[in-house]
Amino acid sequence: MAQVIFSTWGGDVVDNRNVSGEPKAVSYRLPVAFDGERPLRAFMGWDGIILFDKYVDVPAMTAEYMKRVQTLYCCGRCTPGKKGTKVLMDLFRKVLDRKASEADLDTVGDLAELLKNCKCTLCQSATVPVFDAVKHYRSDFLAYINSACGPNAEPAKYIHKITAPCMDKCPAHIDIPKYVEEIRNYQYGEALSTIRENMPLPAVCGRVCPHPCETACRRKNVDEAINIMVLKRTASDYERLHNLRPPMVPKARKNKTVAIVGAGPAGLAAAYYLALEGYQCTIYEALPEGFGGGMIAVGIPAYRMPRTILQRDIDIIQSMGVEIIYDCRVGKDISLPELKQKYNAVFLAPGAHRSKPMGVEGEDKGYKGFLSGGIDFLREAYMGRPTGMGKKVCVVGGGNTAIDCVRVALREGAEESILLYRRSRKEMPADVWEVDGADEEGVKFEFQVLPTRIIVDDKEQVTGVECVRMAMGEPDASGRRRPEPVAGSEFVVECDTVIPAIGQDPDLGFIPPDMGIDITKWNTVVTKYLPLKDAAGKDLKDGMGNMLSRSLITDCDGVFAGGDAEIGPLTVVACVGNAHRAALVIQRWLEEGKAYLSEQDIFDDLLTYLGVYDKNEKVAWLDSGKRAGQKEVHGRERASKGNYREVELGFSDSTAQTEADRCLRCYRMAMVAV
């Protein structure tokens, strides 16, 4: 199977319909079977059609595609879209009813041309596969028009999915074009409701999200991406600044209960969606009250995520009936088997709070001034406890946590705050704006250095770090160049505090080995997945190397896992997206006794794998609207001792509208035949 019969995907026509001999080899990032079982017979979308099965009824599929676009998704807000897709839908219906004439088929081309003037891309992009179908399968259309029997085909089931490049790239799949348009239309409340459908922590992800969506913004192909994240903040701030009550009303209480381990983004998100459905959720959080939020709280400093604003998002979730039991560590204060016995389902979202060792001489000696890890430092500082930090602080690492540490060190009163990173500034995994922020606050950087030894005095107090300079080595077998120490370049950075911040792992010690819950070698929880394979028979995997389509139930029935402990340490938005899915699966499991993924869930994964954004697409548009940046407090005073006031200040509403008006609203619909 898996052989491509015909394709126009991406504008490249592959026609293996009537080839004698070897068909043209071509592959797409699609599984051979939609859900691991039902063969994928055809794919239809914004970039063309792909047929894997020659018995697909192309006219019927085309008619169905246009009908779904027109009746389910066409917003009606521009003339060509509203009327053009109606004319097309009726035209294809007429074809199938054998009431059309050949001349009608010519109108398809006229309309495809006219629909280029649509306001957005949904209807416009829908004409692409439709036009391709009529052009390349004209005889099949004529078979309907001219003969009684129609083309030689087998009926199919069609499954569709609406998407957009940004929406696809967002791990939580927020309907970004919709909320952006709502902000543009002064509908802040509606915008926030749209966000909340997939993102229950809007104030958080409006501030600290690394916004992968913006890397897939089609406006980038014109000028710069829409400031999607700050628009999300706008919607959330609007509700707060106008003292509006969140509109969510949970469904009537059901008598089924769910225990959730961890009040971090995954735990909170799962609780939010389960509570909306009426399930009684209890979250067990190891930290005391006032410090809910998991890594968002203790891992993200208050100058980026003000506590009161985070707490508001948590309070909203609690007001929906979610109970949070603080100061209760699962595995110590209550056991996991106990939870499993007490509740109908358990969701594990403990996060990844254990610092990774640095691998440097002396780190295990318990020196004074050598702190256990960045994440511990941030937590202690956040909770207002002694951090053990001195006056001259060295942080080792290049991620956001390392940056947070150097910036927090200043606010904790460090006279000097230095970041040591073994690669160059450009290669830092930390977000650029965070690095720039640290720069502005007076953090010193030492790039391309590797700490080799901790230097202490006779009282075992740290006095410095010995480092060696790094340079790019020769390409290895895979062609990648790795940094290598430059011989003789050793030097000492004087300091009284060293904070390793090179990553963290989940701490899964609370899971008893006899529960049947598998753990990977990266210390993450194993969950069940669909056997999706490509044409070559290889498993489809996500960007973290996990199986692509996971139902998030562990091998222990009734126990689910999500967040950093399931994905591996990633982002708030990834945890939220993952936990939202877990909530849906948990609900199915509670109601139907089966933990499975819906067709829409699977389609989400498929599209993410296929990729919706095309950075090479030529987008014709006038580049006359500049991207708006949010207001920000500038100057070193913002990082003075004890000053944790928010640094970034968001948009004014009118700026938000202007920014939202830049959105090209890149909706498109994909449909498969199975």
Binding site: Q70, T71, L72, Y73, C74, C75, G76, R77, C78, T79, P80, K82, K83, G84, T85, K86, V87, M89, D90, R93, T107, D110, L111, L114, K116, N117, C118, K119, R184, N185, Y186, Q187, L241, H242, N243, L244, K618, A620, W621, L622, D623, S624, G625, K626, A628, G629, Q630, K631, F651, S652, D653, S654, T655, Q657, T658, D661
Partner: protein, 862 residues
Amino acid sequence: MAHIESCEEKTATVTINGKQVTVPAGTTILDAAAELGIKIPTLCWLKKVSTTGACRVCVVEVEGVERPMTACNTPVKDGIKVTTSTPALEQIRRNTLELMLVNHPLDCPVCDAAGECDLQDNCYGLQVDKNKFGAELERLPIRYDWKLLESDPNRCILCEKCVKVCREIVGREAIEIVDRGDRTIIDTISREPLDCDFCGNCINACPTGTLISKPFKFRGRPWAFDVTPGVCAFCSSGCQIEYHAKNGRIDRVTSSDETYNHGNLCANGRFGYAAFNSPGRVTSPMMREGGSDQRKVTWDQALGSVATRLKEIGGSAVAGIGSPRVTNEENYLFQKLFRGALGSNNIDSEARLGYLPSQVLQWELLGYSGGTYDMNAIEKAGAIVVIGADLKGESAGFAYRVIQAVNKNDARLVLVNSRGTSLNKYANSFLQCRPGSEAWLVAGLNKAILAEGLEGKSAAVPGFDSLKSSLESLSFDKITALCGVSEAQLREAAGLVCNCGSTAVLYGFDVIRSADMKNAVTAAVNLALLTGATGVDGAGIYPLDEKNNTQGMLDMGICPEYLPGYHTYEHAAAKFGAAWNCTVPATPGKDLFQIIDAIESGQIRALYVMGSDPLHILPDRNRTLKALQKLELLVVQDIFLTDTARMAHIILPAATGAEKAGSFTSVDNRVQCFSAAVKPAGESRTDAEILMKLHALIAPVVAMTPMTFDELHHEITTLSGLYSESCDHDGCRMGRVKNRTEKAQFAPLAPVALPQLSRPFTLKIGSLLHHNGSMTTWSENNMLVAGEACLEISPEDAAALGVAAGDMLKVTSDSASITLKVRPSASQQRGDLFVPSHFRDPQINLLSGQKSFPLAVTLAKA
């Protein structure tokens, strides 16, 4: 949408059709083209709302951009070259219109929009006479079940103008785009019948016959009407309107987007005209002899009798009540009749109940009365404080300005009120005080500004220290205890209204009619000074009044203490006497309350009421009733048979705002002239005509007739000193002179203790947005959407009392009991009640006795 925080270039130079123009950055191609006089066809573009880009008719070519761009919503870029018309573009426009016409009903013969339809005009203009596209016909149901409006979605081209006007201008969000694909229509979100402001601004915005006015349907083709520009005769916003008249009858009121109010009206402005056609109009003079009923008489009989009897009684035994409804000229003539012909300074009006004393106070503190600037200044405010006003109910034009400021200028909004209003959703802070505690609350805001150190330059204004020391003796604890608003809320609000560019302060009914008006108004004025609202960079202070010409009426000397132009007797009585060729009594006359006292004591024996209904308006209805019964002569000059008119010895039928020429002065001091759209109904006459005739009959020495308006204006201008001879407003001959002194001063605050409530509930009165005064209760249109006075009560109290919407409750005060229908409303706090004051029944002023509202009452199931 020009506000961009990180905008580098300030202007852009672009070439359109070969012509160059430089425009501010952020300008759209459409606007840039308009600068050059190049017109690009549009259908969905509406200047006053955000752009939509729905119709796609305005496509233009931009050199280097492969697709056509829509001119209406594409900002220019420096250096671009735009072409607005090519064969390809014209083809796209024609094809787009062809698509628009797919299944568009061709019921133009019975469509209300025929003759004023943008779709017709565009198709005609682009010569769209054939259609190559077609689709299956599906007709969508027409909404016949809405009140006042009808919606035919089949005619809709989805331009979104109505939705945007409703959301961005009116702030109601009553209609939305619903459903998908070709079935996408404009409807209420719930699909229930429309329940909204009924301002009809959506009808005005609709380019087709989708949203139409039901009262206007089949009244005539648009071109069959005589259209006369006018000034709305309902609230104090002074909106510019157009009366559409046929056969001497007003059948429609519209407003153009080119007007001062951008075409935006309220339910009263758009639909209240039905009052003018009401069967309740009095259209012939009536007289009662002895104990008989009122009977029709001739004008000569009526006027002759009025003249004779007024003259007989004469001097200080006669009193007059002027009208905030009639024109400036008519009020001037009214007081001239009393002062000049009858020799009585006993003239007053319903403004005595609050607006007049509040403005005397404001004048003493700031040197002017009414609004500082014209109300458009509010749109540019960075912060707005609205104190004790339901803006839409009291003066909708102000509400629209506030919504503009909030929506387009990021203004922060602080509302001070004891009940929620329709602007609450925009409020950054809602300081919900206990009814009657407004003076305390605003004093608290004054104090919070000082406590936060936000007074800025205002510390140099005279009286600052005395204000400061007076506030020191008011503790936040006491303020909180009395108002129910915390210190933290007050401090937060103080932060919101200071340091934000410019602040506007608006104060309304609950301040002006407060039992402690003096401190409430002083606190509002102080707040304006503290926030810089009255300074050159400020956005002004604005008192509100429900009626169209209260400000003008006072300007014209309808009060016992001032001559026209606020001249005192000792200063100007002789001058006026000389001009009028008579002797003007040189001592102040009796005010409204003293007039009632004097009627009771027999000192005043004749009362002439013009365009006012004291029985309905004054507190203690029974007392007023007895007093009026005691009069030897009660003359009522009105357009309706009001409760007071029913008691009159002589009724003189007058004309509506559409039936006369003259000028009105809005509370923000805009003086606007207008001419008559129709003749007075039946035998009725304009108030000016009646007054001039009477004047001539009573004091023939100063011949009043025939006196032209120009002569009259000259006289008013010369004597009052209020106006410049040449007007600075378009279409008006009397531009009001800026009668401002440079003075501004703080005054100390000492709010009076609130009375101990003797009964569990507190009853307030006020306005609804669907009515204006009692006038619109004569309009079948307004009555259709708000037909009776309901008692608003918090849902919690309603539940506790076991009553639901529509049940009856007996309301008992110390003076009386009345029965009202219940309407639970989340706008009310527990323990608070609200009744609109428009309706003649029930007689709410029975409850008040000598007291003022808010009033302590008890509730019981009826």
